[in-house]
């Protein structure tokens, strides 16, 4: 059973203009997103820049104001709830940021950075707090002598690991990871991904994994949603998306991923250009008059695709 539901989430930004600086229009950053989360699973959110995937994550954790829609956590509605220290939601949902460097206060030592969530949400004595911090460092595989260092003294991969340590400090149920490895080198990326999987197995954490890298998402996620212009074009299990993509946008995205097989690159190029041509031609079938994505329709138990009313489209 899912422990958390997101229902028809919308985040609209007003565009002001005109003589009295009135609201003339809205940017529909997130425009009706519905999701359910189960324990210990990883949910991928994929899309190109500007598709609203990061805004979805931020809205869920409360960094963006939700225009309409509901977030229900363990049966309770937590939409736009004020951030307070007693709230179980704020404790149980944590975030890992893309740029770990700017997500840490440069004037705080590692000790204080890791202690902050503990001091906010757990009532521990100084000794217990110190013990917990040492545990956290052990989890992310760092020694205790880093405690008195400042964030700038670490490499990118180490900082990302500290970011993860901070996120798991209060035993969260769910971590929203917004492009956690995009800024990292390949070998460091592998370290961080392995490590995220490890703590998931150990503590049964769910992830919302926001990324534009379809290779990484495939490696990490059980359930994947593809986003375009604030809406889902396709959502389903990993196998549904990768072996049976239905929406033309998914197809286009999948065909554009570079593959490390140089022998077949010509065939892939031809395939890619074919998909692109079909996309340009048949685009109107997949989006409504305003260029928006149609509502989702279930085509199997787990697999939903956005398509127009009666027509059963697909490639």
């Amino acid at each position: 059973m899912s422990f958390m539901q997101v229902q028809d989430l919308k985040v609209h930004y007003p565009i002001r203009g005109g003589f009295f600086n009135t609201v003339v229009d809205h940017v529909f950053a997130v425009d009706g997103v519905t999701m359910e989360f189960e324990r210990g699973k990883t949910y991928g959110l994929v899309g190109e820049s500007g598709s609203g995937k990061s805004t979805t994550g931020k809205a869920m954790i409360g960094l963006e104001k939700i225009t309409t829609g509901k977030i229900i956590y363990e049966g309770q509605e937590v939409t736009n709830q004020r951030r307070n220290r007693d709230s179980a939601y704020n404790r149980d949902i944590q975030m890992i940021f893309q740029d770990s460097h700017s997500s840490m206060n440069p004037r705080k030592r590692v000790l204080d950075i890791l202690a902050e969530p503990i001091r906010n949400f757990m009532k521990l004595s100084p000794q217990e707090e110190r013990k917990r911090i040492n545990e956290l460092l052990a989890i992310v595989g760092m020694s205790e002598d880093v405690l008195l260092k400042y964030p700038h003294e670490f490499s990118g991969g180490q900082k990302q690991r500290l970011g993860i340590a901070r996120a798991v400090a209060c035993n969260p149920k769910m971590i929203i990871a917004d492009e956690p490895v995009s800024a990292l080198d390949l070998s460091v990326q592998a370290q961080v991904l392995n490590f995220m999987k490890e703590i998931q197995e150990q503590y049964g954490i769910s992830y919302l994994f926001i990324s534009h890298d379809l290779g990484v998402v495939r490696h990490m996620c059980d359930h994947i949603s593809i986003m375009y212009k604030g809406r889902f074009v396709e959502t389903g299990k990993r196998e549904d998306i990768y072996s049976n993509p239905q929406h033309i946008y998914t197809n286009r995205l999948l065909s554009a991923i570079p593959n490390i097989e140089p022998e077949t690159r010509l065939e892939r190029k031809i395939e890619r250009q074919k998909v692109e041509a079909i996309y340009q031609q048949e685009q109107h079938k997949y989006y409504d008059e305003q260029g928006k994505v149609y509502p989702l329709k279930a085509i199997s138990e787990s697999h939903k695709v956005a398509m127009a009313g009666t027509e059963k489209g697909g490639l």
Binding site: D185, S187, A190, A256, R265
Partner: protein, 339 residues
Amino acid sequence: MGFVSTKELLTIRNLRTSFRIKDTFYPAVDDVSLTLRKNEILAIVGESGCGKSTLATSIVGLHNSIHTKVEGEILYNNQNLANLTEVQFNKLRGNDIGFIFQDPLSALNPLMRIGEQIAEGLIYHTKLNKKQREARVLELLEQVGISNASRVANQFPHQLSGGMRQRVMIAIALSGKPAIIVADEPTTALDVTIQAQILDLLKSLQDEIQSGIILITHDLGVVAEIADRVAVMYAGEIIEEAPVIELFRNPKHPYTRSLLNSIPQTHSENEKLEIIQGMVPSLMKLPREGCRFSSRVPWLDESVHEKNPKLHEVGPGHLVRCTCWQHFYFEDKEGSVNG
């Protein structure tokens, strides 16, 4: 298409680029030798800090001579680019050598219209008059796949999308019909669909003007899509060089093999990814003797590394540094030498 001539366009011999840190020069690019042939895409791959961008900027002479020392030979048309003065270099840059930067928004002047920026190189390098220049600008914009060229020429960089900006960068690089194009991470800031378009564009333009492209990237996927030959860099040195298919099918150096293994792939779902132990040593602490990769493979015996690792030819066009690859195995698959 796909024909690579044997004529050498650019020859780099024993290039060493050092940065000054407190009165000592530390080489970021150390003893690199490479050749670029006509109509070839040579990819230089490596992780951040390996010296690949420094190599690129050395070729086009973007270094300050007070804080940076460029030694060795970069031979183009019987000239050594490493010794050119700024004035001499200005005649080559933009005309014979084009450069594509990673971040087009910071490489383009935010206060100049696109058309003017493309025409800048033409004013300097050609004798075209204003009318002819304008025509050439539109021609260039169309060449890089911008359909409404006259409108885009009058726009400012911030009005364009990331993919469009990168196309403009390519148009600027192409404006002098260069023999060599140096592209430093041209698609890193772009989405995959746009990346695919830009790579296809680069490839088709190259078929048209037959120039040699040096492609600097950290993305092995991009390399597999577009490169003809690949050089892998680690800690300032080239550790492996091979034709693209050979490199992906038959990688030899431990570093190349580990890198290829750490890419998440279809069959690796739910499996652990291979990681490389330790970190790239910093510029100042870099060991100057012995195999620079030895600290990352501590389970190998000291004796498998060469004292002064050299590039050895192990196949046609396939060079590998050090001899440790013959004894390398991944740590968790114990005992399987060469495995």
